[in-house]
Amino acid sequence: MNTCKDTLELLRGYLDGDLKPDERTALEKHLGACSPCVDFLNQYKRTPSLCKKALAAKMPRELADQLDAFLKKHLANE
């Protein structure tokens, strides 16, 4: 039977649907009997959406104005 270590190593492939059928079966069997790994999987799944929200940035007004001026100058010469 898969250990937690084996299972967590396969999480990306599991979520992407990349695993071979026997790997998937072994992983799901482990998850069925291991609640810490289920919790870990749920956190692993939530990580990208939490990060996407946190890493969104707004361009500072001053830089946005500089970008406008830069493009106006260069586009006029194209």
Binding site: Q43, T47, P48, K52
Partner: protein
């Protein structure tokens, strides 16, 4: 509400040398493009330069965009390329990076670390702001090659093939790095919640 059609109409006008239409496309996408550049380069000045160069390159190569391509995704890929070029240039002075955090197991391979409860609390809003800082810090701490892949896949939603095209790395290498980066980011978020329990 903006639709892809709105963008494609602006794109058509921009292709016909309507600079006001192109300026509108810039206005729509400058924040996410700047955000990507900032996370990749970790420098406001470099991010501003990458953003400028990306939109200028987009303007110069507008005729190369396929009709089925979204302008936003296309300009993001240009910006990612520009940011990578800047990073490669900068790599002359390589920094020593700490190893990535990984889960802890016992000798039988069983998970031994404590897992926090990630459910929002009554203090959700202030927690969100603090969590955002913790995530931002953790992303900045990722080794460069891991940060790039994580940002391009999990924040920008590029495909593995698009990332391979941009970075020149193989898809299996990208997938492996993404997993390591996700583990590190998960650990940072978990640490944040554990410290608040």
């Amino acid at each position: 509400m903006r639709t892809e059609n709105d963008d494609s109409q602006l794109l058509e006008k921009a292709l016909a040398k309507d600079n006001a239409a192109f300026a509108e496309l810039v206005r729509r996408y400058r924040d996410p493009v700047y955000g990507l550049a900032l996370r990749m380069t970790r420098s406001e000045a470099d991010a501003a330069e990458v953003t400028q160069d990306a939109f200028l390159a987009a303007y110069r190569h507008l005729s190369e965009i396929r009709t089925d391509q979204a302008f936003g995704a296309w300009v993001h890929r240009i910006a990612a390329n520009q940011a990578l070029m800047k990073l490669r240039h900068r790599k002359v002075v390589a920094n020593v990076e700490a190893p990535l955090p990984t889960p802890e197991f016992n000798e039988r391979g069983s998970l031994v670390e404590e897992v926090a409860d990630w459910n929002p609390t009554a203090l959700e809003q202030s927690l969100d702001a603090e969590l955002g800082k913790a995530i931002s810090h953790a992303a900045d701490e990722l080794p460069e090659e891991y940060r790039q892949v994580f940002l391009l896949k999990d924040v920008e939603d590029l495909t593995y093939e698009q990332i391979a095209e941009i970075t020149g790395d193989s898809v299996p290498a990208i997938k492996s790095r993404l997993h390591r980066a996700r583990l590190a980011m998960r650990a940072a978020i978990d640490r944040f919640y554990l410290e608040r329990e």
